[in-house]
Symmetry: C2
Subunit: 150 residues, 2 copies
């Protein structure tokens, strides 16, 4: 059973240096509870340290992902979005009209996945469930099952 450390502790105990830039990226993701993309993280980082570069943001994100501190999600926009790893797994819905992202938990999904993958002898490391459609606001008047398929 893995003990939970602070991001800073994880970075150091994995043998990586704790640089100003890495700490900055961690902080930005820990503070913001949105799903930022690399560019947005870079912009925020630049606000606090004008010298940081986009390449470093990407390199930091790769390292943080590898150590499990952050997770990357594909939210249907064709590029990555990042968030600090949460204690309990959750999934995402994105609205096709307004772009809003709704997070939700779904323990049943994990159960079903676990059962299925046990049968198929698959060792699952990551689970991404991504829904898209229309949120409660944008879905008004969209009862015309035209592209509603579920």
């Amino acid at each position: 059973m893995k003990t939970l450390h602070s991001p800073v502790g994880v970075i150091r105990s994995a043998g990586y240096r704790l640089t100003r830039q890495r700490r900055l990226v961690v902080d930005i993701l820990a503070e913001s509870h949105e799903h930022l993309d690399a560019e947005a993280i870079y912009q925020r980082a630049k606000g606090r340290d004008a010298r940081i570069s986009l390449a470093t943001v990407y390199r930091s994100l790769a390292l943080l992902k590898q150590t499990g501190i952050v997770q990357e999600h594909s939210l249907g926009e064709g590029h990555g979005h990042f968030e600090a790893t949460q204690p309990s797994p959750h999934y995402h819905f994105t609205c096709r009209t307004c772009g809003k992202v709704v997070e939700f938990e779904a323990p049943q999904v994990l159960g079903a996945v676990r059962r299925l993958c046990g049968k198929m002898q698959l060792k699952v490391v990551e689970v991404h469930l991504l829904l898209s459609g229309y949120c409660s606001h944008c879905g008004i008047g969209r009862m015309d099952g035209d592209d509603i398929q579920i």
Copy 2:
């Protein structure tokens, strides 16, 4: 209730022209039951019609996606993969070692999603469930729960 037409019928009844190139892309996806990316589709298409261009493949895929004839999946490689829309929804597992993609059905997942989204007033149009980990072959000796999180 939407009637099922042949891809060709769907294209024409949506008011689009049925060109040699569009038919070719449809055929390639219908024949191959793999998850091809745009480049792979382009290579196969060139084999049958040397004049086709990659841009047209992309344009055709966009149109076929919009009409529901094909689906795009993000299989964790950072670029899109395409397959002909199947009658019953299914999901994907990709092996981190050998890259193999395993398809599986999971009606329970759809049920859970439907229930949750009903509560949250979300109208769901698309459901993507993507697992990654190690397949039965590559997973041997990987019992050391180090990065196994589910």
